[in-house]
Amino acid sequence: MSFKNRNVISMKDFSRKEIDHVLDTAEKLEPVARGEERSRLLDGKIIALLFFEPSTRTRLSFESATQRLGGQVLNLGSVEASSVMKGENLADTIRVISKYADLIVLRHPLDGSARMAAEFAGVPIINGGDGSLHHPTQTFLDLYTIRRESHLEGLKIAMAGDLKYGRTVHSLCHALSLYGAEITLVSPPELRMPQEIIRDLQKNNIRIRENDSLEEIIDDVEVLYMTRVQRERFPDPEEYEKVKNRLKVTGDLLKNADSSLKILHPLPRVNEISPEVDSTPYACYFKQAFYGVPTRMALLALATGVIE
């Protein structure tokens, strides 16, 4: 299995065996991500970070991953100060930056932009989020967190919050279906998971149930994946106000949870997890943010070919 020059655009492009290989590689690199060991794996390599919309955590996590491996980062900087403001199209930007860097991490507001970029780039593209579509490195790090803190095979997981628009839960569902997960979807009726995604999962013989209450399911899951209800998705602010606090993880809720329960969240959170949960053994979301570094290190190292 060779990952050299491989693009990372969508989780659907990866088999279970390939995902396992990425996660195994991340695990080997974890001491480097923690700063406990030094690595020069990316020595002499330049990673271009083209972020056409702000995403501080993803960008800094890629920067950290590159620098921990001894590589260097080329940063687009603010879009306002780039050639985009002169009217340059993305295809040309990608063609040019391909000549300056060994790999491009792209974040762009348009759906399908990473797929298009891969057509024009002479170097691998890692999708750092394209529109509302894919964010595969988030899914890789979610899977890595689940594997490190719980287990992947046959996992009983609940995904809660905005399941309609949340791209992280869409691709995580797909990836977990490769591991035979039992998935419970918890959301207000207005924010249910799209039916076509449920249909796809059912085709893979995945057990899915839907609920609108965390209380009813909390004692029967091993991982609870919370997502933020995104204010910007609601044209009517009153509608947002109605649902924003409908699902909330509190100390009280967790009294009925299994002691091994792990709570994940892609962050940032707003109201959906009380701060009192942070100090409990259930809270896994800050570790999850850290696990983004070894996971992204693995993807960078594999795609540039410095690790087989």
């Binding site: 295809a91 507001p109 348009l110 759906d111 399908g112 298009m116 529109g131 579509l133 076509e196």
Partner: protein
């Protein structure tokens, strides 16, 4: 009666006749084939012509044999159309259109946020699937949006 009906479109000496087009779709067939005012061959067509299996449209293209690949795109909007290649007034080849598995630059993606609807130098690309429950569906190869209805309205 038969003679009168035949007069609606003259027989062609050489070229392509697309028959059994779903009624009302002849103009869309021309769009699918990229036939515009710059096209040099003679085109004639009838819309809503009575046929044995109900009303239909017919398009005749004089002096030009279109490729099967081009013609199969017609299956997106008219899956029962037939293609007749004419040489010296004789039908030398008669085929039904076959749904292609992929089309490029034919249909606009319905997702306004899709990169293919921006000013990038790319053509729209779709994989094509036919199923009993959903009929013909197109999946955008950039943004993965699915078009299952009104394909004709989204022709480029």
């Amino acid at each position: 009666m038969k003679e009168k009906r035949d007069l609606k479109i003259q027989a062609i000496e050489n070229g392509t006749v697309i028959d059994h087009i779903k009624a009302g779709q002849a103009l869309n067939v021309l769009r699918i084939l990229g036939i515009s005012s710059a096209f040099r061959a003679t085109i004639s067509f009838v819309m809503n012509a009575p046929g044995a299996a109900g009303i239909k449209d017919v398009v005749k293209i004089e002096g030009k044999e279109l490729s099967v690949e081009e013609l199969n795109r017609i299956a997106l909007i008219s899956p029962k159309a037939t293609i007749n290649i004419i040489r010296d007034f004789e039908v030398v080849q008669k085929n039904k259109v076959v749904l292609p598995s992929y089309v490029e630059g034919v249909v606009r993606c319905i997702n306004p946020n899709c990169i293919s609807n921006s000013s990038e130098p790319i053509k729209s690309k779709f994989s094509v699937v036919q199923s009993e429950e959903d009929g013909v569906t197109l999946r955008c190869l950039y943004c993965e949006h699915v078009i299952s209805e009104n394909i004709a309205e989204n022709l480029l």
